[in-house]
């Protein structure tokens, strides 16, 4: 077992438990707790004129019915603006229960707590809320036209506006021999984890404390926010994240209204209370992402090299901005991908609409940015008659130019400075994998069979592992069991395995002895959360550093016991031995015993640490001044900046010449996330990311009507891909270690999703021979485009002025 674990396809520790019904997700907890249900607004924008709960009071088993008027103290205040930003001049957030006016369908208006969910919903059905409808704003076009307002005091519906510029774009465009302008459109989708949100509050009336379980991506964030809202000392609130059935971004937002209301009601009632989100609730009261209108003007030379890039986009942020403007900031910065843009200016507006709020969903603004940039690359190639891969290659940042500073501020408030990457090598791998240079022959063959095929490509850079920090605690018990805790949460990323691999290597113990806990504020009170592909980078390095602290301490104690120098010792398989003299050794678990001087022996092994056992220096205290009892260590990893992973995808699509049905024949991925802790897990993350990308490219959209009703708020109508829609994914990897952290890791979680929309658009454009400027695209939309282009005059032509 002393073989190195990091870098191996280690099978997952968590699987046997999850496969046998022994997982514990939020709704599996709290059997017997009271259950909450909500009356939610059926209107996108309306004034509440009356709430009549009389009939609901008759429902057997109802324990409490609450409206805004019942909320006391800070629970009645607006929800926090989590990430303020200077550009966010008009942040607006809702209340836990709507106060006077509702701003989107699904906003919570009344909370009912009852003996079970069925009864709570019975009561909800008997509550009559009267509304006076107000004018509704849906979609970017309507929001920016400035007619109606979502918030009375926000002119033109503009929550935020920002201009960033590097170099002189106007001069660069004026001097460029070629310019093109593209108008682009990308629609909303959503994280849509199979498990919705959920909250379970255990109120301890005896000591006035709260244990809160939430299906969240940040337990420490929820803890701080709930303690503040309920006016409780942090010391009386603990938050535990159970098994989480997927997150993909939506669960990083906090506190959701229910995360405040459920513990608030539990305290008020002196009872345990639980709420489990149902699917319709998730559609209309969680969050969405992606919707943007974009305008790109690009200047380039006759070789296709970028001279100037001028981007404007309008971002639909929904009704509120609790998560600030992270998504448009990421679009604006990560749009640049692996390229040198020449002069660059980006200007964006984040706009209110009477729709579900918009917060990061896997990719978090990058899919939109990548789409804008890659559509532009294809347009340049088409304009100049050049190979699309070649145009990209000519604009790449070269390996010898790393680290490369794009001159912009990234989402963490730090420079957008790429730490490493070898883009030409990645492209070479991708071209070989997909057979880029042989595609013309394949196309000709297909054409002879009456088939229509196309190939597409997309490249991206992903800033991963943003700070500020994560921590790790490693503790060796006298049994030899190694407990590892880190504060960020887990929702499918294999943390119990990956972090155990890292600690097993660093400490020199068998994997089977290592037990990892995440997302539990009782075990690690300082943490940020799981988002931005940061889990492995941040907590992976934190647990490695903590394990190194423990290792050093173990060697020091063992050296004393064996009367050798620590430098002569090594740890393998849980045994500390003199190098070259394996007979002279001591078990790590025995060192754990010795590390904690005892008065009372709790078992026979513990006798070795008691006061009459062995010899000691009577002039020294049992625990040295600069030491602590126990074989335990803690450390934090806090980087100066993000690491930058990158990748390139290519797809081969076939479109039916008659029906315009779209099939993805091949999907190829080359990915570079630095050192891979577990290649099997990285591969799995890529697969899942691509699948969500395919959904966003071809199937998923949020269909709002003009009154702000979400028409497809079910899995029947929101078309998440099944196995039959997701292609077989072929992958190849580069490992360019990050110089920024001890393990050389870059994040991998979101990468697969980022370029898919761009790649599919590229491939469809290649197959069809006309520009694709709006995504996602359905067969019927493609068919309409064919008609339009057949009649020629329809689409605006792009070309040099």
């Amino acid at each position: 077992m002393s073989t190195r674990q990091v870098g191996e396809k280690v099978q997952r520790v968590e699987d046997p438990r999850l496969l046998t019904g022994n997982g514990r997700y939020l709704d599996d907890l709290g059997q017997g707790a009271l259950q909450a249900a909500f009356v939610r607004s059926p209107h996108a924008h309306a004034r509440i004129t009356d709430i009549d709960v009389t009939d609901a009071l008759d429902v057997d088993g109802v324990e409490g019915i609450y409206t805004y008027e019942d909320l006391d103290g800070r629970t009645g205040e607006t929800l926090p603006v989590l990430i303020p930003h200077p550009s966010l001049t008009h942040p607006r957030t809702g209340h836990c229960l709507a106060r006077d006016v509702v701003k989107h369908v699904g906003e919570a208006v009344v909370m009912v707590v009852a003996r079970d969910r069925y009864l709570a919903e019975d009561a909800c059905a008997r509550i009559r809320v009267s509304y006076e409808p107000l004018p509704v704003v849906v979609g970017v076009e309507q929001a920016r036209s400035g007619g109606h307002r979502v918030h009375d005091d926000v002119p033109d519906n503009v929550a935020a506006h920002l201009v960033q510029e590097v170099g002189d774009v106007e001069a660069a465009l004026a001097a460029a021999p070629n310019t093109l302008t593209l108008e682009l459109d990308i629609e909303r989708s959503a994280s849509m984890p199979l498990e919705g949100k959920g909250v379970y509050a255990r109120w301890d009336t005896d000591d006035g404390s709260l244990r809160l379980y939430s299906s969240t991506q940040t337990s420490t964030g929820v803890r701080a926010a709930v303690a503040a809202k309920l006016g409780m000392p942090l010391a009386k609130v603990e938050v535990v994240t159970p098994d989480v059935g997927g997150g993909f971004g939506v669960k990083i937002v906090h506190p959701w209204p229910e995360e405040v209301l459920v513990p608030w009601a539990a305290r008020r009632l002196g009872r345990d209370v639980k709420w489990t989100e149902d699917r319709r609730e998730h559609f209309v009261s969680s969050s969405h992402e992606r919707g943007q209108l974009q305008q790109v003007t690009v200047g380039f030379d006759d070789d296709g090299r970028l001279l100037g890039l001028d981007v404007r986009f309008w971002h639909d942020n929904g009704a509120y901005t609790p998560y600030g403007v992270i998504v448009p900031i990421i679009t604006a910065t990560q749009l640049l991908g692996p390229y040198k843009p020449g002069a660059y200016r980006v200007e964006w507006w984040s706009l209110y609409t009477n729709t579900v709020l918009v917060t990061p969903y896997r990719g978090a603004g990058r899919p939109q940015g990548c789409y804008a940039m890659e559509r532009t690359m294809d347009a340049i190639a088409a304009h100049l008659g050049l190979d699309r891969a070649e145009v990209r290659s000519r604009n790449f940042i070269q390996p010898e130019e790393m680290p490369y500073d794009q001159g912009l501020m990234f989402q963490d408030g730090r420079p957008l400075r790429y730490d490493s990457g070898d883009f030409p090598a990645s492209l070479a791998k991708l071209k070989a994998l997909v057979g880029w240079d042989d595609f013309a022959a394949y196309r000709a063959l297909a054409e002879r069979e009456g088939r229509r095929v196309g190939i597409g490509i997309g490249c991206y850079v992903e800033g991963t592992g943003v700070g500020p920090y994560e921590g790790g605690v490693v503790q060796v018990e006298t049994s030899g069991r190694v407990n590892v805790a880190t504060g960020l949460t887990t929702q499918g990323q294999s943390h119990q395995t990956a972090f155990a691999q890292i600690v097993a290597d660093e400490l020199g113990v068998p994997m089977a002895d290592v037990h990892v806990t995440t997302g539990d504020t009782r075990r690690m009170a300082y943490a940020v959360g799981t988002f931005a592909s940061r889990g492995a980078v941040m907590s992976g390095n934190a647990v490695a550093l903590a394990a190194r602290v423990v290792r050093a301490k173990a060697l020091r104690i063992a050296a004393d016991a064996l009367e050798v120098s620590p430098d002569d010792l090594d740890i393998a398989d849980g045994v500390i031995a003199v190098k070259g003299a394996p007979g002279t050794s001591i078990d790590l678990k025995t060192v754990a015993v010795l590390s904690n001087p005892l008065r009372y022996a709790f078992d026979t092994s513990a006798q070795a640490a008691t006061q009459f056992a062995g010899t000691f220096d009577p002039e020294k205290p049992p625990v040295a001044d600069d030491d602590e009892p126990g074989l335990e260590g803690q450390d934090f990893y806090s980087p100066t900046q993000a690491t930058f992973a990158n990748g390139m995808h290519a797809a081969v699509v076939e479109t039916d010449p008659v029906t315009a049905e779209i099939r993805i024949l091949r999907y190829c991925v080359v990915h570079d996330c630095g050192t891979m802790v577990n290649p099997m897990v990285v591969e799995g993350q890529v697969h899942g990311g691509v699948a969500q990308g395919v959904g966003g490219a071809l199937y998923e959209r949020m269909v709002y009507d003009e009154s702000g009703q979400l028409l497809n708020a079910s899995f029947m109508d929101f078309l998440m891909p099944y196995a039959t829609e997701v292609p077989h994914i072929e992958t190849d990897h580069l490992e360019t270690p990050s110089p920024l952290n001890p393990l050389g890791i870059k994040g991998a979680g979101e990468a697969g999703t980022i370029p898919v929309t761009a790649v599919i658009a590229s491939a469809l454009e290649d197959a069809e021979g006309f520009p694709i400027r709006s995504m996602p695209i359905s067969p019927s939309e493609l068919w309409e485009l064919r008609l339009a282009h057949a009649s020629d005059t329809a689409a605006p032509q792009e070309g040099s002025p």
């Binding site: 046997p16 496969l19 099997m680």
Partner: protein, 171 residues
């Protein structure tokens, strides 16, 4: 509309994983909720409550059904098999469960019990599927994490493990 609402409870006895189980529940109790909340078998998960995602799939007399689309009372007289009945011991996995471990067929694990029950029933009738058939077999269940590729591999691997175990190699 304003008469007091009180629920009549019915004694419901089902055979679940080979054992008769009884609990009092109203007639409208969904089978999924009955299994989870009345019998404490929380391995069956609920992802959509409208029969699309398949996370709640259990076997009814050996056939996959969506337990969110059945009332518990209608399952009287039938044999229900949940994920716990396929195998509830992490140290003694069924062929399908073992295949999921080997092929990284799950990430968050929420949809997984529905896949395992579905695939278990499928392999009983189609012990040697092709890759295309394996993909088709899981095409009624949603997974948001894996992209399905490793689930398809798991189906094929599970078929192998079944043959290996049937061949006398019981490990």
């Amino acid at each position: 509309m304003s008469e007091p609402v009180t629920e009549q409870l019915i004694e419901i006895t089902l055979r679940v994983n080979g054992v008769p189980r009884t609990a009092a529940a109203p007639a409208r109790r969904l089978l999924s909720d009955f299994l989870r909340h009345d019998l404490g078998l929380t391995g069956t998960h609920v992802g959509c409550e409208h029969g699309v995602c398949g996370a709640c799939t259990v076997l009814l007399d050996g056939d996959p059904v969506r337990s969110c689309l059945l009332f518990a009372v209608t399952a009287r007289g039938h044999e229900i098999t949940t994920i716990e009945g396929i195998g509830d011991d992490p140290a003694a996995l069924s062929p399908v469960q073992q295949a999921f471990v080997e092929c990284h067929g799950l990430q968050c694990g929420f949809c997984t019990p529905g896949f395992v029950t579905t695939i278990t029933a499928y392999l009983d009738e189609h012990p040697d599927p092709t890759p295309e058939q394996a993909r088709e077999a899981v095409s009624g269940n949603l997974c948001r994490c894996t992209g399905y590729q490793n689930i398809v591999r798991s189906v094929l691997r599970a078929a192998e493990i079944r043959r290996e175990r049937a061949g006398g190699d019981d490990r």
